[in-house]
Amino acid sequence: MNVNKMFPERGPAFWWTGFTALIASGTIFILFVSLVVESVPVFKVQGVSFLWGTDWFAGESYGALPMIFGSLMVTGLAVILVLPFALGSAILTSEFLNGRYRLMVKAAMELLAGVPGIIYGLIGIALLTAAVRDVFGLIDGNTLFTAGLLLAVMILPTVMTLAEDALRAVPGEFRDTALSLGLTRMEMVLKVVVPQALPGLAGAVFLGLGRAMGETIAVMLVIGGIDRIPQPWFDLFAPGQSIPSKIGREAAESLGFDLQWSALIALGLVLFVMVMALTSAGNLLLRRAR
């Protein structure tokens, strides 16, 4: 590689911007490497059984399975709950609303996507847990279901906006052709536009999944905080724990270098890998859509 050929002009501007670019692009590596290095101690003590152990007793054993399970459950539930609303409103906004209303909906969604997680957490703990408890006749409203429901509301604006973008990206000729063949408006949308936009729609859902999985505060306040896989495992109305909520609850008390800290970092590593997989898949699908 010839540096002179790649960068013919190397003045002060080059070095200055190059330095900042190095920081910007290196951060993600530093994050990943730190996660790996810092989680080595717990893997040394526990081996890979860290990943499928079911007991987490600080100072004795560290098993991540209940947290991994909880994360998958609440994220999956959130996506199932959000799908009809996000896709329905995306289709309506993109295909049936005229320009001005469309812009209004988009602006509202952008505003709502910015609502801080702690606000959702406050609503969850003050109102939603009691509502879930009363509606489903439970003893305690802090359950996996409550967390999934709250997450669904949180990711609705994100998924809806991305899905709408994906639908808009389908070229107008497809619509004109479909209409000229005598399809109704709805047939055109469902049989032409949606299939064409399918990779983009899937990408939107994957990015929403990634966001939901990493959300900490709101989930932490309503999930119940018990490191146990419910019996039976599909019982959504039992308290549980997700990876970020576990880290959020225990990071403050174990700031430092003992095994507990290492175990929390290892949980972070597992979360990082899962979220990156989801987001990469989402970005790949969105790019293919374009």
């Binding site: 911007t17 530093i30 709502l112 703990i125 109704t184 970020p244 700031l255 987001t279």
Partner: protein, 283 residues
């Protein structure tokens, strides 16, 4: 009515139903925060310090803490984001490397915020010996909002017409002079909107700073580099966990409303600037 038309109308009806339900849920959330929060808001609430572990008094230092963290983060982040965008657009010529660079920034955007908290504490708190302090918080948030600023500035720089650059080149400007004379002034709107969005993101973040930068009570303005601050976000977090106490809950809703207003104003200004630009472009 034919069956085909009936089907058409039914599905459209369902779409409207889903959309209205979705919007209604979100509207209910906003209304709840306003209705529950507005009784707590008063001059005293905004400008007094909190007493009795947040049960009495106001949230003055919490507001100041949130402002310190978000402004600090944007200030630290802006030069880095600007520099990295300029390097990407002005000096990188290979499309593969450009693509890779974009991929790295997008990945950074996807990292769960709690991980920024964990590793940020190790890096800034332990290695740089800042401890649990506002400096650690500022640096963590700066890293967290980097992708937001980067993407927004990058979009603006990319949309500068090609003949502007050609004119600069024809005048014999060096890359540094080009940046100062052409690229920065022409991408100013992207820099402003990116920074505003970054500020909004930093203001709304709790997970990354709750165990790295903040303390709950007895904290006023930081007097040194290594002191924690108290913020609206963590104030709400602690009060929310005492949800059985109506006094705590009232103050939590009040603080929530203030936080929501800060975030909304920032995003609304961004949207306003953007829509103004779009109108200009259409003319």
């Amino acid at each position: 009515m034919t069956r085909r038309l009936f089907k058409e109308q039914t599905i459209l009806f369902a779409l409207y139903g889903f959309t209205i339900c979705g919007c209604l849920v979100l509207a209910v959330i906003l209304a709840t925060v306003f209705i529950k929060g507005s009784p707590a808001i008063s001059g005293a609430f905004l400008f007094e310090e909190s007493r009795n572990f947040g049960l009495e008094g106001g949230i003055f230092y919490q507001i100041v803490g949130t402002l310190i963290l978000m402004a600090g983060a944007a200030l630290v982040c802006l030069p880095v984001a600007l520099g990295s965008v300029l390097f990407q657009t002005e000096f990188l010529h290979s499309p593969q490397i450009k693509k890779l660079f974009r991929l790295l920034i997008y990945s950074l955007n996807a990292v769960p915020t709690i991980i920024f908290g964990l590793i940020g504490y190790l890096f800034f708190g332990v290695f740089l010996e800042a401890g649990v302090s506002w400096v650690t918080g500022v640096l963590i948030l700066a890293v967290m909002i980097l992708p937001t600023l980067h993407v927004s500035i990058h979009e603006a720089v990319e949309s500068i017409p090609k003949h502007y650059r050609e004119a600069a080149l024809a005048l014999g400007l060096s890359p540094g002079q080009q940046m100062r004379a052409v690229i920065l002034p022409q991408s100013l709107h992207g820099i402003v909107t990116g920074t505003l969005l970054g500020l909004a993101r930093a203001a709304g973040e709790t997970a990354a700073i709750m165990f790295t930068a903040t303390a709950f009570s007895g904290v006023k303005l930081p007097q040194s580099w290594t002191e924690p601050v108290t913020t609206l976000q963590t104030h709400i977090l602690v009060l929310a966990q005492e949800a059985t106490n109506p006094l705590a809950l009232t103050n939590a809703w009040g603080a929530g409303l203030v936080l929501l207003m800060i975030v909304f104003v920032l995003i609304a200004v961004t949207l306003w600037i953007r829509s103004g630009l779009q109108m200009e472009a259409q003319r």
